[in-house]
Symmetry: C2
Subunit: 196 residues, 2 copies
Amino acid sequence: MSRVTCDLTISLDGFAAGPNQSKAEPLGEGGELLHRWQFEEPESNAAEREGILAAGAFIMGRNMFAGPGAWDENWRGWWGEEPPYHAPVFVLTHHQREPLEMQGGTTFYFVTGGIESALAQAREAAGSKDVAIAGGAQTVRQYLSAGLIDELRLHIAPIVLGAGERLLDGVANLKLEPTEVSGTKLVTHVRYQLVR
Amino acid sequence: MSRVTCDLTISLDGFAAGPNQSKAEPLGEGGELLHRWQFEEPESNAAEREGILAAGAFIMGRNMFAGPGAWDENWRGWWGEEPPYHAPVFVLTHHQREPLEMQGGTTFYFVTGGIESALAQAREAAGSKDVAIAGGAQTVRQYLSAGLIDELRLHIAPIVLGAGERLLDGVANLKLEPTEVSGTKLVTHVRYQLVR
Protein backbone atom coordinates (compact mmCIF):
# COMPACT_ATOMS: atom_id res chain seq x y z
CA MET A 1 0.00 0.00 0.00
CA SER A 2 1.22 3.50 -0.70
CA ARG A 3 2.57 5.61 2.16
CA VAL A 4 0.99 8.75 3.55
CA THR A 5 3.50 11.60 3.65
CA CYS A 6 3.29 15.17 4.79
CA ASP A 7 5.61 18.06 4.00
CA LEU A 8 5.26 21.15 6.14
CA THR A 9 7.41 24.21 6.65
CA ILE A 10 7.47 25.59 10.19
CA SER A 11 9.34 28.34 11.99
CA LEU A 12 11.90 27.50 14.65
CA ASP A 13 9.25 28.29 17.24
CA GLY A 14 6.85 25.83 15.63
CA PHE A 15 4.43 27.95 13.63
CA ALA A 16 3.15 26.80 10.23
CA ALA A 17 1.60 30.21 9.57
CA GLY A 18 1.80 33.68 11.07
CA PRO A 19 -1.03 35.44 12.90
CA ASN A 20 -4.09 36.95 11.23
CA GLN A 21 -4.43 34.69 8.22
CA SER A 22 -6.78 36.13 5.62
CA LYS A 23 -7.62 35.75 1.97
CA ALA A 24 -5.22 38.61 1.25
CA GLU A 25 -2.49 37.03 3.40
CA PRO A 26 -3.21 33.29 3.51
CA LEU A 27 0.01 32.46 5.37
CA GLY A 28 -0.58 35.17 7.99
CA GLU A 29 1.71 38.02 8.92
CA GLY A 30 5.32 37.07 8.26
CA GLY A 31 4.27 33.66 7.02
CA GLU A 32 5.74 34.09 3.56
CA LEU A 33 9.21 34.23 5.20
CA LEU A 34 8.77 30.54 6.01
CA HIS A 35 9.11 29.72 2.33
CA ARG A 36 12.20 31.73 1.39
CA TRP A 37 14.07 28.42 0.99
CA GLN A 38 11.76 27.41 -1.85
CA PHE A 39 12.03 30.65 -3.77
CA GLU A 40 15.56 31.85 -3.02
CA GLU A 41 17.37 28.53 -3.01
CA PRO A 42 15.47 26.40 -5.52
CA GLU A 43 18.53 24.50 -6.71
CA SER A 44 20.00 23.68 -3.30
CA ASN A 45 16.59 22.39 -2.24
CA ALA A 46 15.61 20.74 -5.52
CA ALA A 47 15.13 17.24 -4.09
CA GLU A 48 12.92 18.47 -1.23
CA ARG A 49 10.87 20.67 -3.55
CA GLU A 50 10.29 17.78 -5.92
CA GLY A 51 9.41 15.54 -3.00
CA ILE A 52 6.59 17.86 -2.00
CA LEU A 53 4.86 17.35 -5.34
CA ALA A 54 5.77 13.72 -6.06
CA ALA A 55 2.65 12.14 -4.61
CA GLY A 56 -0.04 10.46 -6.68
CA ALA A 57 -2.82 12.25 -4.83
CA PHE A 58 -3.11 15.10 -2.33
CA ILE A 59 -5.38 16.02 0.56
CA MET A 60 -5.81 19.57 1.79
CA GLY A 61 -7.98 21.43 4.27
CA ARG A 62 -10.62 23.86 3.14
CA ASN A 63 -8.53 26.83 4.37
CA MET A 64 -5.58 25.77 2.30
CA PHE A 65 -7.79 25.59 -0.75
CA ALA A 66 -9.96 28.61 -0.11
CA GLY A 67 -8.55 30.62 2.82
CA PRO A 68 -10.56 31.65 5.86
CA GLY A 69 -13.93 33.33 5.51
CA ALA A 70 -17.14 32.45 3.71
CA TRP A 71 -17.12 29.52 1.27
CA ASP A 72 -17.09 30.81 -2.30
CA GLU A 73 -18.66 28.29 -4.67
CA ASN A 74 -16.74 29.73 -7.61
CA TRP A 75 -13.29 29.88 -6.03
CA ARG A 76 -10.67 28.11 -8.16
CA GLY A 77 -7.72 28.02 -5.70
CA TRP A 78 -4.57 30.13 -5.41
CA TRP A 79 -2.57 28.38 -8.07
CA GLY A 80 -3.87 29.71 -11.38
CA GLU A 81 -5.35 27.57 -14.13
CA GLU A 82 -2.51 25.02 -14.00
CA PRO A 83 -1.88 24.15 -10.33
CA PRO A 84 1.44 22.46 -9.51
CA TYR A 85 -0.13 19.22 -8.26
CA HIS A 86 -0.78 17.49 -11.60
CA ALA A 87 -2.83 14.90 -9.73
CA PRO A 88 -6.15 14.55 -7.90
CA VAL A 89 -6.47 16.83 -4.88
CA PHE A 90 -9.08 15.99 -2.23
CA VAL A 91 -10.33 19.07 -0.38
CA LEU A 92 -11.89 18.58 3.08
CA THR A 93 -15.01 20.71 3.33
CA HIS A 94 -18.57 20.74 4.63
CA HIS A 95 -19.84 22.07 1.29
CA GLN A 96 -20.74 19.72 -1.52
CA ARG A 97 -19.39 20.79 -4.87
CA GLU A 98 -18.80 19.18 -8.25
CA PRO A 99 -15.18 18.23 -9.04
CA LEU A 100 -13.16 21.11 -10.47
CA GLU A 101 -10.92 20.06 -13.30
CA MET A 102 -7.93 22.30 -13.93
CA GLN A 103 -5.24 22.19 -16.60
CA GLY A 104 -2.25 19.86 -16.35
CA GLY A 105 -3.90 16.96 -14.59
CA THR A 106 -5.02 18.61 -11.35
CA THR A 107 -8.64 17.98 -10.37
CA PHE A 108 -10.02 19.21 -7.05
CA TYR A 109 -12.52 16.82 -5.46
CA PHE A 110 -14.58 18.13 -2.56
CA VAL A 111 -14.98 15.61 0.25
CA THR A 112 -17.63 16.05 2.91
CA GLY A 113 -17.20 12.67 4.60
CA GLY A 114 -14.21 13.52 6.81
CA ILE A 115 -10.52 12.70 6.89
CA GLU A 116 -10.77 8.92 6.61
CA SER A 117 -13.07 9.12 3.64
CA ALA A 118 -10.70 11.56 1.95
CA LEU A 119 -7.78 9.26 2.63
CA ALA A 120 -9.57 6.23 1.20
CA GLN A 121 -10.39 8.15 -1.98
CA ALA A 122 -6.86 9.52 -2.24
CA ARG A 123 -5.32 6.07 -1.81
CA GLU A 124 -7.54 4.75 -4.55
CA ALA A 125 -6.53 7.60 -6.85
CA ALA A 126 -2.81 7.42 -6.04
CA GLY A 127 -2.40 3.77 -6.98
CA SER A 128 1.15 2.74 -6.05
CA LYS A 129 2.29 6.32 -5.48
CA ASP A 130 2.23 8.09 -2.10
CA VAL A 131 -0.63 10.14 -0.75
CA ALA A 132 0.46 13.58 0.51
CA ILE A 133 -1.28 15.56 3.22
CA ALA A 134 -0.67 19.00 1.74
CA GLY A 135 -1.84 21.12 4.68
CA GLY A 136 -2.62 23.37 6.38
CA ALA A 137 -1.57 22.83 9.94
CA GLN A 138 -5.02 21.97 11.25
CA THR A 139 -5.48 19.24 8.67
CA VAL A 140 -2.03 17.84 9.40
CA ARG A 141 -2.83 17.78 13.12
CA GLN A 142 -6.01 15.83 12.44
CA TYR A 143 -4.17 13.19 10.41
CA LEU A 144 -1.30 13.01 12.93
CA SER A 145 -3.71 12.60 15.84
CA ALA A 146 -5.51 9.83 13.99
CA GLY A 147 -2.23 8.00 13.40
CA LEU A 148 -2.67 8.15 9.63
CA ILE A 149 0.67 9.68 8.58
CA ASP A 150 3.67 7.48 7.84
CA GLU A 151 6.32 10.12 7.18
CA LEU A 152 6.41 13.73 8.34
CA ARG A 153 8.94 15.88 6.50
CA LEU A 154 9.51 19.08 8.38
CA HIS A 155 11.24 22.01 6.79
CA ILE A 156 12.35 24.22 9.68
CA ALA A 157 12.93 27.84 8.69
CA PRO A 158 15.41 29.71 10.91
CA ILE A 159 12.92 32.38 11.87
CA VAL A 160 10.90 33.14 14.98
CA LEU A 161 7.31 34.13 14.20
CA GLY A 162 6.21 34.61 17.82
CA ALA A 163 2.54 34.03 17.03
CA GLY A 164 0.28 32.26 14.57
CA GLU A 165 -0.81 28.67 14.06
CA ARG A 166 1.36 26.04 15.69
CA LEU A 167 1.74 22.70 13.97
CA LEU A 168 1.88 20.48 17.03
CA ASP A 169 -0.47 22.11 19.56
CA GLY A 170 -2.77 19.49 21.02
CA VAL A 171 -1.15 16.58 19.20
CA ALA A 172 -0.13 14.07 21.84
CA ASN A 173 1.38 10.58 21.93
CA LEU A 174 3.33 10.90 18.72
CA LYS A 175 6.22 8.50 18.34
CA LEU A 176 8.66 10.00 15.90
CA GLU A 177 12.01 8.83 14.65
CA PRO A 178 14.21 11.14 12.58
CA THR A 179 15.66 9.25 9.63
CA GLU A 180 17.33 11.94 7.55
CA VAL A 181 18.54 15.47 8.10
CA SER A 182 20.00 18.09 5.76
CA GLY A 183 19.79 21.76 5.17
CA THR A 184 20.93 25.10 3.82
CA LYS A 185 21.24 28.50 5.42
CA LEU A 186 17.50 29.09 4.92
CA VAL A 187 16.10 25.76 6.05
CA THR A 188 16.73 22.55 7.98
CA HIS A 189 15.05 19.46 6.53
CA VAL A 190 14.18 16.62 8.91
CA ARG A 191 12.34 13.44 7.92
CA TYR A 192 10.43 11.69 10.67
CA GLN A 193 8.98 8.21 10.52
CA LEU A 194 5.85 7.86 12.60
CA VAL A 195 6.27 4.79 14.79
CA ARG A 196 3.11 2.82 15.49
CA MET B 1 37.35 37.71 22.09
CA SER B 2 35.84 34.37 22.97
CA ARG B 3 32.41 33.45 21.62
CA VAL B 4 29.26 33.01 23.62
CA THR B 5 27.63 29.66 22.90
CA CYS B 6 24.50 27.98 24.13
CA ASP B 7 23.53 24.32 23.95
CA LEU B 8 19.94 23.49 24.67
CA THR B 9 17.82 20.41 24.13
CA ILE B 10 14.21 21.05 23.14
CA SER B 11 11.26 18.93 22.12
CA LEU B 12 9.92 19.06 18.59
CA ASP B 13 7.19 21.36 19.88
CA GLY B 14 9.76 23.72 21.36
CA PHE B 15 9.80 22.93 25.07
CA ALA B 16 13.06 22.96 27.04
CA ALA B 17 11.32 21.42 30.06
CA GLY B 18 8.03 19.71 30.78
CA PRO B 19 5.27 21.12 32.99
CA ASN B 20 5.38 21.28 36.81
CA GLN B 21 9.11 21.63 37.35
CA SER B 22 10.04 20.97 40.97
CA LYS B 23 13.04 20.11 43.05
CA ALA B 24 12.05 16.46 42.75
CA GLU B 25 11.59 16.77 38.98
CA PRO B 26 13.76 19.69 37.84
CA LEU B 27 13.07 19.05 34.14
CA GLY B 28 9.31 18.85 34.66
CA GLU B 29 7.03 15.98 33.72
CA GLY B 30 8.44 14.06 30.78
CA GLY B 31 11.43 16.40 30.62
CA GLU B 32 13.99 13.67 31.16
CA LEU B 33 12.93 12.15 27.82
CA LEU B 34 14.53 15.17 26.15
CA HIS B 35 17.94 13.87 27.13
CA ARG B 36 17.71 10.26 26.01
CA TRP B 37 20.20 11.05 23.25
CA GLN B 38 22.87 11.86 25.84
CA PHE B 39 22.37 8.76 27.92
CA GLU B 40 21.35 6.11 25.37
CA GLU B 41 23.56 7.18 22.47
CA PRO B 42 26.67 8.60 24.12
CA GLU B 43 29.03 7.41 21.40
CA SER B 44 27.00 8.56 18.39
CA ASN B 45 26.68 11.97 20.02
CA ALA B 46 30.18 12.19 21.49
CA ALA B 47 31.17 15.39 19.70
CA GLU B 48 28.02 17.23 20.73
CA ARG B 49 28.27 16.06 24.32
CA GLU B 50 31.88 17.20 24.53
CA GLY B 51 30.89 20.52 22.93
CA ILE B 52 28.43 21.21 25.72
CA LEU B 53 31.21 21.09 28.31
CA ALA B 54 34.10 22.56 26.30
CA ALA B 55 33.67 26.17 27.39
CA GLY B 56 36.10 28.00 29.67
CA ALA B 57 33.30 29.38 31.83
CA PHE B 58 29.56 28.80 32.23
CA ILE B 59 26.55 30.90 33.15
CA MET B 60 23.35 29.41 34.52
CA GLY B 61 20.09 30.66 35.95
CA ARG B 62 19.22 30.19 39.60
CA ASN B 63 16.61 27.55 38.76
CA MET B 64 19.14 25.47 36.86
CA PHE B 65 21.45 25.60 39.87
CA ALA B 66 18.88 25.26 42.62
CA GLY B 67 15.48 24.40 41.13
CA PRO B 68 12.30 26.34 41.84
CA GLY B 69 11.23 27.16 45.38
CA ALA B 70 12.91 28.91 48.27
CA TRP B 71 16.63 29.69 48.01
CA ASP B 72 18.65 27.25 50.14
CA GLU B 73 21.91 28.79 51.25
CA ASN B 74 23.47 25.35 51.70
CA TRP B 75 22.43 23.85 48.36
CA ARG B 76 25.43 22.44 46.46
CA GLY B 77 23.82 21.77 43.07
CA TRP B 78 22.54 18.60 41.40
CA TRP B 79 25.87 17.31 40.21
CA GLY B 80 27.49 15.76 43.28
CA GLU B 81 30.85 16.82 44.68
CA GLU B 82 32.58 16.79 41.27
CA PRO B 83 30.33 18.61 38.77
CA PRO B 84 31.00 18.03 35.08
CA TYR B 85 31.90 21.66 34.32
CA HIS B 86 35.53 21.68 35.52
CA ALA B 87 35.49 25.47 35.17
CA PRO B 88 34.00 28.55 36.81
CA VAL B 89 30.19 28.62 36.73
CA PHE B 90 28.42 31.94 37.26
CA VAL B 91 24.96 31.57 38.78
CA LEU B 92 22.44 34.39 38.28
CA THR B 93 20.65 35.04 41.56
CA HIS B 94 19.33 37.79 43.78
CA HIS B 95 20.99 36.21 46.82
CA GLN B 96 24.56 37.03 47.72
CA ARG B 97 26.63 34.01 48.61
CA GLU B 98 30.32 33.18 48.89
CA PRO B 99 31.84 31.20 46.00
CA LEU B 100 31.34 27.46 46.30
CA GLU B 101 34.40 25.48 45.32
CA MET B 102 33.74 21.92 44.27
CA GLN B 103 36.11 19.14 43.26
CA GLY B 104 37.63 18.91 39.79
CA GLY B 105 37.91 22.62 39.04
CA THR B 106 34.26 23.69 39.22
CA THR B 107 33.59 26.76 41.34
CA PHE B 108 30.11 28.28 41.52
CA TYR B 109 30.13 32.08 41.73
CA PHE B 110 26.88 33.81 42.65
CA VAL B 111 26.23 36.94 40.61
CA THR B 112 23.64 39.49 41.73
CA GLY B 113 24.47 42.15 39.15
CA GLY B 114 22.46 40.76 36.22
CA ILE B 115 23.23 39.04 32.93
CA GLU B 116 25.76 41.52 31.57
CA SER B 117 27.76 41.50 34.75
CA ALA B 118 27.77 37.71 34.72
CA LEU B 119 28.92 37.68 31.12
CA ALA B 120 31.76 40.11 31.81
CA GLN B 121 32.97 37.95 34.68
CA ALA B 122 32.62 34.77 32.64
CA ARG B 123 34.55 36.24 29.72
CA GLU B 124 37.34 37.26 32.07
CA ALA B 125 37.43 33.77 33.56
CA ALA B 126 37.25 31.95 30.20
CA GLY B 127 40.28 33.63 28.66
CA SER B 128 40.48 32.53 25.05
CA LYS B 129 37.92 29.76 25.48
CA ASP B 130 34.19 30.16 24.85
CA VAL B 131 31.61 31.20 27.40
CA ALA B 132 28.59 28.86 27.52
CA ILE B 133 25.11 29.86 28.58
CA ALA B 134 24.19 26.58 30.26
CA GLY B 135 20.47 27.25 30.83
CA GLY B 136 17.69 27.07 31.73
CA ALA B 137 15.34 28.33 29.09
CA GLN B 138 14.55 31.61 30.85
CA THR B 139 18.22 32.51 31.12
CA VAL B 140 18.81 31.60 27.47
CA ARG B 141 15.87 33.80 26.44
CA GLN B 142 17.35 36.73 28.37
CA TYR B 143 20.70 36.39 26.64
CA LEU B 144 19.11 35.85 23.21
CA SER B 145 16.88 38.90 23.64
CA ALA B 146 19.88 41.01 24.64
CA GLY B 147 21.75 39.88 21.50
CA LEU B 148 24.57 38.38 23.55
CA ILE B 149 24.73 34.85 22.09
CA ASP B 150 26.92 34.10 19.09
CA GLU B 151 26.02 30.45 18.48
CA LEU B 152 22.88 28.57 19.50
CA ARG B 153 23.22 24.80 19.28
CA LEU B 154 19.82 23.21 19.45
CA HIS B 155 19.39 19.53 20.09
CA ILE B 156 15.88 18.70 18.95
CA ALA B 157 14.46 15.56 20.53
CA PRO B 158 11.78 13.78 18.44
CA ILE B 159 9.17 14.04 21.17
CA VAL B 160 6.10 16.18 21.73
CA LEU B 161 5.79 17.39 25.33
CA GLY B 162 2.60 19.39 24.81
CA ALA B 163 3.22 21.68 27.77
CA GLY B 164 6.06 23.13 29.81
CA GLU B 165 8.58 25.92 29.31
CA ARG B 166 9.12 27.00 25.72
CA LEU B 167 12.55 28.16 24.68
CA LEU B 168 11.55 30.87 22.26
CA ASP B 169 8.37 32.40 23.71
CA GLY B 170 8.66 36.15 23.71
CA VAL B 171 12.01 36.25 21.94
CA ALA B 172 11.58 38.43 18.87
CA ASN B 173 13.78 39.76 16.11
CA LEU B 174 16.27 36.93 16.10
CA LYS B 175 18.30 36.53 12.95
CA LEU B 176 19.49 32.97 12.77
CA GLU B 177 21.48 31.10 10.19
CA PRO B 178 21.87 27.34 10.40
CA THR B 179 25.47 26.34 9.73
CA GLU B 180 25.57 22.64 10.52
CA VAL B 181 23.07 19.86 10.90
CA SER B 182 23.39 16.23 11.94
CA GLY B 183 21.56 13.69 14.01
CA THR B 184 20.65 10.24 15.19
CA LYS B 185 17.31 8.54 15.77
CA LEU B 186 17.02 10.23 19.16
CA VAL B 187 18.08 13.79 18.28
CA THR B 188 18.62 16.33 15.53
CA HIS B 189 21.51 18.72 16.09
CA VAL B 190 21.33 22.16 14.46
CA ARG B 191 23.90 24.91 14.92
CA TYR B 192 22.67 28.45 14.43
CA GLN B 193 24.82 31.54 14.09
CA LEU B 194 23.15 34.62 15.46
CA VAL B 195 23.37 37.33 12.80
CA ARG B 196 23.80 40.88 14.12
